[in-house]
Point group: D2
């Protein structure tokens, strides 16, 4: 299906449910997909950071994406992460995603290698040319250790290389400057924020939508938040965001002496989705450390406080 211009609303970065043995649990992918669409999300983003793309083999990625595309059945667009180090490898991932039926692709700047703005621009141009689907840039310095320069995004938006941006940089000031500049230069360009704790502010600033990891846990909340913002009811949007920001405390469930913050957050999203009955098994991919019982209890407490359990 064609991607709307701009793509607006709530586009959760879908977690990838696994079986206890670590394989993709396609039944749970389908159930979760169905749940999210029923909750009113406006698109799905598979194989992003929340989808544990960095932990999945190419075969596992393909399986997860195919299941989601099939379950979505054209009701909302499916964006697919094509996360790999540089252009040639990213194009291999793109070919898989096209085969699986994705509607658009999401690529980061080169990583592992050190890079340069000129190389980043060329990277996206070659990926767009080779991949044959609308392309979103995924600005995620915490993972790739490069911030997409504002001028590079503007140029790639203006020349049609990029259909949109998923901004997970956390740099809201730079995002604001970009939004102001885009309005003048490339009005239809999609900007989705990945900063799930400041969605009300981002929508007020003119972002088109949000890609919230926490949306796996409370999709209804983000859909309500988006609807309030679109209706101009900023007080309601703010209250919903406050509730979701408190819920986000579940990402701190894991003991920092035992695991990294990323494992804690991904583990908590999955534990929550499991407690809510959305997926069959809360396992994250190795070598992430699983949440222990105390951590899961903390996740449960947050869900209860938020009125979800």
């Amino acid at each position: 299906m064609p991607i709307p211009t701009p793509l607006s609303g709530v586009v959760p970065p879908v977690i990838t449910p696994l079986t206890p043995k670590g394989e993709v649990d396609t039944a749970s992918v389908r159930r979760l997909t169905e749940h999210l669409i029923t909750a009113g999300v406006h698109g799905l983003f598979l194989l992003g950071s929340s989808g544990e793309a960095a932990y999945l083999t190419d075969a596992q990625r393909l399986t997860a994406l195919e299941s989601a595309v099939d379950a979505a059945a054209g009701r909302v667009p499916v964006l697919a992460g094509i996360i790999d180090t540089t252009m040639a490898r990213v194009l291999d991932r793109a070919a898989d995603a096209v085969r699986a039926g994705a509607d658009a692709l999401v690529a980061t700047a080169p990583f592992y290698t050190r890079t340069h703005p000129v190389e980043i621009a060329d990277h996206f141009r070659r990926v767009r040319e080779g991949a044959g689907l609308p392309l979103f840039a995924y600005d995620i310095p915490v993972a790739v250790h490069t911030k997409l320069p504002r001028e590079v995004v503007l140029d790639l938006a203006a020349d049609g290389t990029l259909a949109g941006l998923k901004d997970s940089s956390g740099d809201e000031g730079s995002l604001r400057r970009l939004l102001v500049a885009l309005r003048r230069r490339v009005p239809g360009f999609t900007v989705l924020t990945g900063s799930e704790l400041t969605v009300d502010g981002a929508l007020l600033a003119g972002a088109d939508g949000v890609v919230p990891g926490l949306g796996n846990v409370d999709a209804h909340g983000y859909v309500r938040l988006y609807a309030s913002a679109r209706a101009g009811d900023w007080a309601a949007a703010r209250a919903e965001q406050d509730r979701l920001a408190a819920l986000f405390d579940l990402t701190d469930a894991g003991d920092p002496a035992l695991m990294g913050g990323s494992s804690s957050a991904l583990g908590a999203f999955k534990a929550a989705a499991h407690l809510l009955g959305l997926i069959d098994c809360p396992a994250t991919a190795a070598p992430q450390v699983p949440l222990d019982a105390a951590a899961v209890a903390r996740v449960r407490d947050r869900l209860t406080e938020a009125g979800l359990l």
Copy 2:
């Protein structure tokens, strides 16, 4: 004068006008102070990063602060930065600020040395105990290379060490979680954002006010933005913020091959204030590189576009 609880509104981090020879231009300090108060700001923050505190001797800092306190004449509270590496040195700066008549103090986490959350908390407790004035924490990782941990701020707020926070971390997601937690635990605590490009969103999220470097250039704009937000007119607040975000482009006036981004931004604030007639001389402190004529012309263009010239 006592600091309001919370301190709300627009509190510009006042630039420090210098003479062509590099001395503090007290007449311009007074003129700028008068201008800002007339524009409706709710407080003044002297000797912060925008005030070039890192470039001024102790004597120069004292001169600038005394002039501003005298010119303010109790009409708005004057906060004074007491920027130095660690506790004992910060207390010397605090003694100067008390002598100059500041109403409150603003201190960062230790810098130059590597530190630890336990040490940061102890640092603020000892500074508060030794200094005898209300204390604000200045969270500015770009300068001190440590982000104030949310739990440390919450503890220091709860036990009365801190009266408030100036958040220049740019981490709006963490700020949101802090605001939600403070509302539950320490309702009167002041939170001012230093992120001048996302003030509408920060006020929507519950921040009490803003410390905008750009407020030296367009204080009226920030005062209008704050008033719109307080009135719940978020569309007006957003439009004002958009205009200010475009104006902020003046900070890129300097050629990055010739100077750093900080010198460009501080130089641009001073060039703009000079072009607007608020100060007599646009000089920044050495060894910052002065803006050349082409850069000043770019500043002038931005002022013209923003309707200020």
Copy 3:
């Protein structure tokens, strides 16, 4: 062939020659392999950072590795980089490398994702268990943004997970502490430095050998340096290292306004190998920016100064 314990000497991280169209130039891989072995190197490391592994597809990696294994013909051990984001993906790369006939594998800590020492240790244990060949850890924070903790390396050395370490961290102080600790606890463990500018000091400190990117350009120089050090002729080792350090200036050939430092260095290694007749074409993989004629002239000047042309 079995890997010596420890693996000592010069083990260049072999560049991957490409055709003008960007395919692996297997004839040049073979010629370069022959040249390096003839020059007296003690092993070959394929598909590392100098090998542009991050830029090559899985198929290209396999082709390059198979060609080198075949050309080496068992005369020296061939180590293969299995660079990918995390364990499951790394195991897919390992299966390819085993199939291509590698003698040992070289893996980094997880990247793209944020990780934790406990997870890093588990990552290496699972890779070792799944891969079936001796495993070297590749400590390269500039690429993966995590420094391997000394205690993790010691534990993985002691329990037999790791056969050795390639230390490209540039943290010579930490390396020294590791070498001192290994001598007490795990005497046969291999430590190779990837810091090609301080090989004399590293060998003096007890490192077993070196993995020098510049060894693609002047393998004889590194072989002489190693031989001098082993003979205890530290004055000769130092003089050779000084000459090689001057030669290393060729990595600055590219204009930093046009390309990144990594592209400049890899481009210069390939330009030099091409000028020396070791490979047919100096092309680097896209989206790296090719060296222009002026840059190639600078590379030629450095080769001439070093007596190689």
Copy 4:
């Protein structure tokens, strides 16, 4: 006294003994100074990072420096750190150091503020011009978050701004390239490494000497290491360095859950000096966390293993 050209040998960064109440313990400063000179050091560096300069008031700095200058009595040159954020403040510190009788000054790049190579060069030129004593650059990115660019150091060496460099960057590869370039362009320029774990390698590479924090604990060891290296007995130099590297484990005495690594290291140096009878009290300046009894016991164990107790 005039500084030798180059300044060679062991120049410990002298710790600043404090009383239990946190004042400078001048008697211990004198005793430690005497001990170090008797041990054969070739100079003293007061008010560096190991001297806790960042924690001392201007008055305390002056007291410590005056005591050391007086105790040294011209037997070895005394270098004084003039650590402050930027030029004008650094010049105030320089005036104090001149008054106290220092023989040379040691300044870092600007910190707290973001800077630029052009500004860094200008900073050192203005400090040198204003200060009236030979000036050493202190390259310490871990504190100031800028690495001194090699070309800047070369230019400032060539034009006489700098008499030397104290390299605490830990970047031994860059140091090697600098040493090779200096030999061609500015032969008399002093290079001292601050990397106390790789002194044998640095001296082999051509460094003139070392500024070892651990030299406060085992000055004799570093003097022997230097003498062995000068005599060309690299095996002896290496063995001594290995012993000192093992001793350096005392810097890990503090519990990382309770304090930062810097506090642990400075606390351990002082605890060791106290256990060895060199100073009266092991207190570090607040807000550093003091070592607890278990940590002091670990320091004692390391001293015993190293044969110092």
